[in-house]
Assembly symmetry: C2
Homo-oligomer: 206 residues x 2
């Protein structure tokens, strides 16, 4: 890399540059082998600045794990047609992931890192639970709201896992349209259907 | 560890001892930092024996990723009540994971490792796709069989992820009975419901 002047501390893009560099390195090398020093070098900033912004490597990872699309924006307006919110949700999710191969590659890398380390899991846990609940707050039924959001998150996470991370042939090769038909009603069930009612102990204990 | 004689090559338990040691070490240290030599030391066998059985570390991981319960046995007999196969499936899956904290801890570790490395993903991909299809072969509807099996796998994987790996509060704190009620109909839908039909391009491209 040719030498060039380091970015000034006050640059409005500095924080984003650091996050981009961190995302690339975490995806390429994993958590353990990514150093703050390497991130600083790639982002062309002083390492002290990374500590200033993100405190430590866990903080940096948590910030880098944030998806390139704001979940609130991604899920906005679903309450206008709440009976089809499930289908719309699958369609939008796939739209983001299918649209940009580079972003997808980076997100798969980040997902792997987030899943592989206990301390790195917090960002994903929040995203698939609390963030979804907040973003879908006007669509989720009034009962069992936390469970509903987490069920939506578990199926969305499972889909991303099966299609993009593991590549299970059946979901890897399906068209987005097929997945909307197959999974849309499931998310709708989780959002507004009967979940978490009382159940006979015999079933629960199997 | 006190010195003791190495197990003889022909011992019928030797292969299992190696897999147990490998499972523990992969879960404790991750893939990169687990060496064949360390596995040999913990299993108390000659390292050459591990190469003989499993060729390399990827082979060892793939073998160690096999769940403690045979999926075919876990899923046996679901065809006797095919309309409730979805509920029974969730109940049995949770039964295995809830039953034994040590086994669960080890499985979470293995899941993390399997998800974190591309070369380690093959075992999980097979388990959540092909293995499920074979085991549920008499329950899965005739159309879109590979997609159906992979959808079941994606939701089961997403549930394990949300409840045991990430610990998303809504699914972490639900009772097994609640999850059977909430997720059972979903797996039933994937097994025998309408999935993967033709869909209008406008929906597919969203």
């Amino acid at each position: 890399m040719p030498p060039r002047g380091r970015r000034p501390v006050g640059s409005s893009d500095t924080r984003q540059e650091i996050l981009t560099a961190a995302g690339e390195l975490f995806a390429e090398r994993g958590f353990e082998r990514t150093t703050m020093r390497a991130v600083a070098a790639r982002a062309d900033v002083d390492p002290a600045l990374i500590h200033h912004y993100f405190v430590n490597k866990e903080g940096l990872l948590a910030a880098a794990l944030v998806l390139p699309v704001d979940p609130a924006a991604l899920l906005a307006g679903l309450d206008k047609d709440p009976e089809h919110a499930g289908e719309a949700l699958v369609g939008r999710l796939l739209g983001v992931w299918e649209g940009d191969p580079d972003a997808r590659h980076r997100m798969v890398g980040l997902l792997r890192v987030g899943l592989s380390h206990e301390r790195a899991a917090a960002g994903l846990r929040d995203l698939l639970g609390r963030t979804i609940l907040i973003a879908l707050s006007r669509v989720v039924a009034q009962d069992h709201r936390s469970l509903r959001a987490a069920l939506v998150g578990s199926q969305m996470g499972g889909l991303l896992l099966g299609r993009y991370v593991l590549g299970i042939p059946g979901v890897r090769d399906a068209t987005p349209g097929q997945l909307v038909v197959a999974i849309g009603p499931v998310l709708q069930h989780y959002l507004t259907g009967p979940v978490g009612g009382a159940v006979a102990p015999a079933t629960a204990s199997r």
